[in-house]
Assembly symmetry: C2
Homo-oligomer: 415 residues x 2
């Protein structure tokens, strides 16, 4: 625990120095890190190999090993992402609002860094560079806590980041890695309210749940997406099918892919066969309620559990509904407030859906797959918030800032 | 616990109905509640008397009894506050940003209610009406959990609020009171993540700490204020003294009053006697570091504990510093990130203080007592946030809203 507290103290001190750095100094540092990554690619790959070998010995599956793996191309991609980050506008130091009170106090609301950010994440070592660079760009110090399976890779990347920082005006202590990967250390990190201003867990449902349950530091919750497409009575068939296929199959393993399609009974009667055949052609396993099964007996029955499940796979549940109200009710009961779409040509139904679905992103005639910082045009993404405080939906750089009121007086006192 | 879950479910259902209500319907409901309060003032006072008698029997002190007490004037003030709330702009349903992507998706960011808000508060029964009305104005349902010492008053106020709601288009279930005042019930409420979108504790440090430690629902933290005035070398003596007296004595029991004054050594040498005498004349008990005591032997010594203490009383700690850097360091170490002031005529020092003090509100040549929703011109106040996520400093109505992205497409799918 001594390591943890010492690093937290150093991160806090560094955050105070970082706060005095200019945008140019921060961008120069990102450039130094980008250069260091490219110069030390073979060192990184060598250390990453140790993790890969341990991973194989420990029986990690192919998909996890692939997520863990770093090669020239992936390191080059990290370096390029850093250069792209340099081009983005610095969200700190902006006067967001300014007004004068009748007593002539002038109040300025300005954007400032959050301070020290705690990042807890799973196997992907690229998150180490990604999280560190987003934090530095926004003037925040960061404490990183990766998984033990990426231990050598993360230590190597930290060394390279520090080498970059040493050539810059930024404090090296701005990026800290918790090398002790025991569970107790992570739990102690959740309680560092005196040093951390926010915790951002990036990873599976279980990790995020644990952080939310145990932390006394405020958490930016990201992740779970049980998303739906609702096909309304007046939905254009080609458009409905194209969007459903895209939202389910373009990348099933991500949070903005859909898990259930809700289908208006009249549309189902005439069009569902075509939808079902196209989905099966795309290798999707289907589970349906009894109404849809009455139209197509080939399908497996869906259970209550299916409505709740984020498959993250080529599996999709189908359910018939009587109207948009029933669709919205289902979504608000089972959804995770992430991304929801209506396919319809009836304005009143679209308006009802927009108004009543409780989700970060509500789409009309478009795929849910667009819920993404880059697709929204933010140029970067910290994660997709599924909570309602601070930031909702895709989070760009500004989600790593807070505000401060600077008040200029001439001796005002309160009567 | 059955009561708790049932009420939470009803609040959630009500919040969905509330979301469909217009600004006019919400304002009409506030007016109905205002009328009901005035019409049923004697009923409320009668029930309040029961709490006062129990309070006296249980040995509550005068100050707590006063906070608990409702009379004609106080009920009239609640009714008037409701009418003032009607006049404020509805912060929901606003298009905050709107842009089109190269693929012609149109993205609208709109403000929406948070959903269901949990309020946990101490003895003051006026918070029952205050919290309920702020939530209704912003389209939120609310679950209220007051203290057992105000049980009869809160039940009476809830009945009156419901009577008002019955005459309006809003669902009566939008305001729920947890009548079971056992500690276990409050703890269970902190865990209602499936029903509550945010918890707002209003009360003492202990209450807020407990909520932060135990809740899995996101918390809007308010409260603690260990605030400072720093008197710089070039501070105008009259102005420094007037602001210090105001910030300490105008209302010592509130969070934006100051607890420590940091004094530049050169200013101290010539002016501290005058400051000390004026503070003593205002009935302030002083505790000072050894440097200030060397200038005035009458003073009691200050200990480490004094720098950390929010006295909320006519007590003030004094400390000499060598420069603005030392003042900022002290504030960032001991402050609670609430309100901090510099008194100075040196622009570079003011800029340094503005930039480096980590607090919600940073003042130059003005009293810290202005950190308040009404003084900031918000027309209402939910509380003063001392955390950095979502809202910082005085929170007006917009702090009870979140956002939602409404995305209009014409069949866009992700490549």
């Amino acid at each position: 625990m001594t390591e943890l507290i010492n690093k937290a103290k150093r991160a806090k001190t560094a955050s105070q120095k970082l706060n005095q750095c200019t945008t140019k100094q921060k961008n120069d540092a990102l450039h130094c890190i980008s250069q260091a990554l490219q110069n030390q690619a073979s060192f990184i790959i060598g250390e990453n190999l140790k993790d890969l070998e341990l991973g194989k010995a420990n029986g990690l599956n192919e998909s996890l090993l692939d997520r863990l793996m770093l090669n020239e191309t992936r390191i080059k991609a990290m370096a390029t992402a850093l250069e792209q980050l340099i081009a983005l506008k610095d969200p700190t130091g902006q006067v967001l609002e300014s007004w004068q009170r009748p007593n002539e106090l002038t109040i300025n609301k300005v954007s400032v860094p959050l301070g020290v950010i705690g990042m807890i994440y799973e196997a992907r070592p690229n998150v180490t560079v990604d999280a560190a660079s987003l934090c530095l760009k926004t003037g925040n110090a960061v404490m990183l806590r990766g998984s033990s399976s990426a231990h050598h890779s993360n230590c190597a990347l930290l060394k390279v980041i520090h080498d970059g920082l040493k050539q810059s005006a930024l404090p090296v202590d701005a990026v800290q890695l918790i090398e002790d990967t025991r569970r107790e250390t992570a739990q102690a990190m959740f309680q560092l309210k005196d040093y951390l201003d926010v915790l951002i867990p990036r990873g599976g449902k279980q990790l995020i749940q644990t952080v939310v349950e145990q932390a006394n530091v405020p958490v930016l919750e990201t992740g779970a997406g049980n998303c739906h497409v609702y096909i309304d009575e007046t939905a254009d068939p080609e458009l409905a099918i194209s969007i459903t296929i895209n939202a389910k199959t373009q990348r099933p393993s991500v949070c903005n892919a859909i898990e259930t399609v809700l289908i208006h009974e009249k549309w189902a009667k005439h069009q569902v066969e075509h939808l079902i055949n196209t989905l099966i052609d795309h290798g999707v396993e289907l589970r349906a309620d009894h109404m849809i099964r009455a139209l197509d007996v080939r399908l497996q029955p869906a259970t209550e559990e299916d409505w709740e499940t984020e498959y993250l796979d080529h599996i999709l549940a189908l359910k018939q509904v009587a109207n948009v109200e029933e669709a919205v009710e289902h979504i608000n009961q089972y959804g995770t407030k992430h991304s929801e779409a209506i396919i319809s040509e009836t304005k009143a139904h679209v308006d009802y859906f927009y108004q009543n679905v409780d989700a970060a992103a509500v789409y009309h005639n478009a795929s849910t797959r667009f819920t993404d910082g880059f697709e929204f045009g933010f140029g970067a993404e910290i994660g997709i918030s599924t909570q309602k405080l601070h930031a909702r939906g895709p989070m760009g750089l500004s989600a790593l800032t807070t505000t401060k009121y600077l008040i200029a007086g001439t001796g005002q006192i309160r009567e």
